[in-house]
């Protein structure tokens, strides 16, 4: 999986998150308030041309990352750097310019298209908002975009409810690439689709990336899909990155106990299940009551001692190809 983007300077990341944090205030009773920590100081770097996977279970904060990058939410603290520029506080014209460069595809293709508007309206929307085209040229460009995503002729005046799930997701992808963005955030784009349709969309996304010179931030709870599409991956748990590295390294020899149990929990579509599955006990804690120390320690099968309950492990480089946040590797360098 090589992308044309690699030719450019590999040193500077396209997207960089620095200590990105987001809290939500929840009302409780009449006057009480609780703070839910959705995202707790994460650092990430996305190389241009990468297909970067972000995996985690519900409540891990992965969708919050997407909404922050898209500037649909404001971070509580931390910075988002895009192509070297701090975009955390962008407003007005500068924000509009940014929106041409970062786009998103959401999980539920049905809810992502206005049910009262035609596919032409939805796909044309970015071009209209940014005053790129109008009239016949606009319609022509939309037809061209639909062609690219594999929805030839006849779809322009259809309404979302008349399209299948896969067709709707293709329309959403057409809208997202209409402005020729550099970064495409894909928030669980195939989890609402059937496997045979998912396969078509994944193949298509794979080709599209090379064809349009895109960088992907691919958010998913489905580890197999990330393995297929991505080259790097970050595993999130309770608003923190617990392991980060190349997909091959992380999937073949996971270092963090959470990554290990996550991979082990996936039932495999094959004749025999591997022996020695790790089944974690307990539930994911609430974001309003994150355990002290390592947030994973109450469920961790490899807890080493009191240090896990008191000290927050930092994400430290390990081996050559990854970084891990776990006290197991505390003494290593």
């Amino acid at each position: 999986m090589s992308a044309p983007g690699e030719a450019r300077e590999p040193g500077e990341p396209l997207l960089e998150l620095r200590g990105l944090t987001r809290h939500f205030r929840l009302k409780e009773g009449l006057t009480g308030q609780r703070t839910a920590i959705a995202l707790d100081g994460i650092d990430l770097k996305l190389r241009r041309g990468a297909a970067y996977g972000l995996v985690g279970e519900s409540g891990s904060g992965k969708t919050t990352v997407a909404r922050l990058i898209l500037r649909l939410l404001q971070p509580t603290s931390g910075q988002i750097l895009f192509a070297g520029q701090d975009i955390t506080g962008l407003k007005g014209e500068a924000l509009m310019k940014l929106r041409e460069r970062i786009q998103i595809v959401f999980q539920d293709p049905h809810a992502s298209l206005n049910p009262r508007k035609t596919i032409l309206f939805s796909v044309a929307e970015p071009l209209v908002v940014h005053r790129r085209l109008k009239g016949p040229a606009l319609r022509h460009r939309v037809e061209e975009l639909l062609e690219i995503v594999g929805l030839p002729g006849g779809f322009l005046f259809r309404y979302p409810h008349e399209l299948s799930g896969g067709q709707k997701q293709r329309a959403c992808i057409a809208r997202a690439v209409a402005l020729n963005p550099e970064l495409l955030v894909l928030d669980e784009p195939t989890s609402a689709l059937d496997v045979s349709v998912q396969a078509q969309v994944l193949e298509f996304l794979h080709d599209l990336k090379a064809r349009l010179d895109l960088t992907y931030l691919f958010i998913s709870h489905d580890l197999s899909v990330v393995r297929y599409l991505c080259d790097r991956v970050a595993v999130m748990y309770m608003g923190k990155v617990v392991e980060e590295g190349t997909v091959d390294a992380v999937f073949e020899s996971p270092s963090h106990p959470y990554t290990e149990s996550l991979l082990s929990a996936v039932p495999l579509p094959q004749a025999r299940q591997p022996a020695g599955r790790i089944v974690l006990s307990g539930d994911v804690p609430s974001a309003t009551a994150i355990p002290p120390g390592c947030p994973f320690h109450p469920r961790c099968p490899r807890k080493i001692g009191p240090v896990c309950e008191t000290a927050v492990p930092r994400l430290e480089p390990r081996l050559r190809d990854r970084a891990v946040a776990c006290h197991l590797y505390g003494s290593e360098t």
Partner: protein
């Protein structure tokens, strides 16, 4: 198919549902049987009819608009195709239990877990005239025993909890406890783990596996996830567009899939070990059910289809011991 007398048997079962656009032929000649204590998976994609098959068998599909076009259903040797509403309800209450994808929908938010479970226990008693009615305390004890059986942590406390205070995995455990209240002989689980996170899914899969081993009931697992059925079932039925295309033992199905649809499905799944580097989806989309394709319903999307496939409905044929498939490729060719 030798062996013990089947617990549930469908023969040539066809079902249609009336809609605004016309009559949908949702099931077409579905035949399968499940032995007592057997764990069977039904897999297929959206709209293949996997849910509606079992729901219509236990009377959960309103008729009209649904109508049984042909075929018979028998449970424990009794023909229940024409059984009345009350007979079906008794069957559903005592012999068959069902759990669903979204447990919250099936729990009343206004009552505690304990109240709801006790109600279910009382309802099951009412269906069984032989059983002596229990006292309140006995029902509570039974309910707590059931919650213990599904390994709900701290059952005494959860007994007093409301559904919204429980996590998704805990709710699914409560729903399973309710299903077990009547000691059913057949448990139907419709996408039981689809709404759950993968680490919680692993817990529920373990629980179902343990219950099957200790209680010896038959289980039908309906799922779109081949991994889930592979982890739980000994036999798998693959459905496509209202027909069963393949029926085989789990190991046999994954190692030696025969039907082109099954093979397409397996080739479409990305693998966790990275062993698949190129996915092939199945071209096209599911057919129109008002005028379903003639012959084999899969032929318009099948790369190996020939003239015969559009003409003649394939027979269900045993291509290897206990491995059945409905495809002309194994029945004299497609031309």
């Amino acid at each position: 198919m030798a062996g013990p007398a089947p617990l549930l048997e469908l023969r040539d079962y066809s079902l249609s549902i009336d809609s605004f656009d016309g009559r949908l032929q949702v099931l077409d000649g579905v035949s399968f049987s499940i032995a007592p204590g057997e764990v069977v998976g039904i897999v297929g994609e959206t709209g293949c009819g996997k849910s509606i098959t079992v729901k219509s068998v236990i009377g959960l599909v309103p008729s009209p608009p649904a109508k049984v076009e042909s075929g018979t259903v028998s449970f424990d040797g009794r023909d229940i195709t024409a059984a009345g509403e009350s007979a079906i309800r008794r069957l559903r209450g005592r012999e068959v239990a069902m759990i669903f994808q979204d447990p919250m929908t099936y729990l009343n938010p206004l009552f505690t877990v304990g109240q709801q479970l006790s109600d279910v226990i009382r309802a099951k008693e009412a269906l069984d005239p032989a059983a002596a009615p229990r006292t309140r305390a006995e029902r509570r004890a039974k309910a707590l025993a059931l919650l213990g059986q599904v390994h709900l942590p701290d059952p005494e406390r959860q007994f007093e909890s409301y559904p919204h205070q429980l996590s998704g995995g805990m709710r699914q455990r409560v729903l399973i406890a309710m299903a077990l209240a009547g000691s059913p002989r057949l448990l139907i689980a419709d996408e039981p783990t689809t709404a759950l996170d993968v680490t919680i899914q692993a817990q529920i899969l373990d629980l179902v596996k343990e219950l099957v081993e200790t209680l010896g009931m038959a289980v039908i697992i309906i799922s779109h996830d081949l991994g889930v059925v592979a982890a739980l079932c000994r036999r798998i039925l693959v459905m496509y567009a209202g027909t069963i295309v393949e029926d085989a033992g789990t190991a046999d199905l994954f190692e030696n899939p025969r039907h082109p649809y099954t093979r397409g499905l397996l080739a479409a799944i990305p693998r966790l070990d990275g062993s698949v580097t190129s996915l092939s989806g199945i071209p096209g989309s599911i057919p129109n059910f008002i005028e379903p394709p003639q012959g084999c319903r899969f032929h318009p999307r099948c790369a190996q289809a020939g003239a015969r496939c559009g003409r003649e409905r394939p027979r269900n044929l045993e291509v290897a011991p206990d491995h059945w498939t409905a495809c002309h490729l194994f029945d004299g060719g497609v031309e």
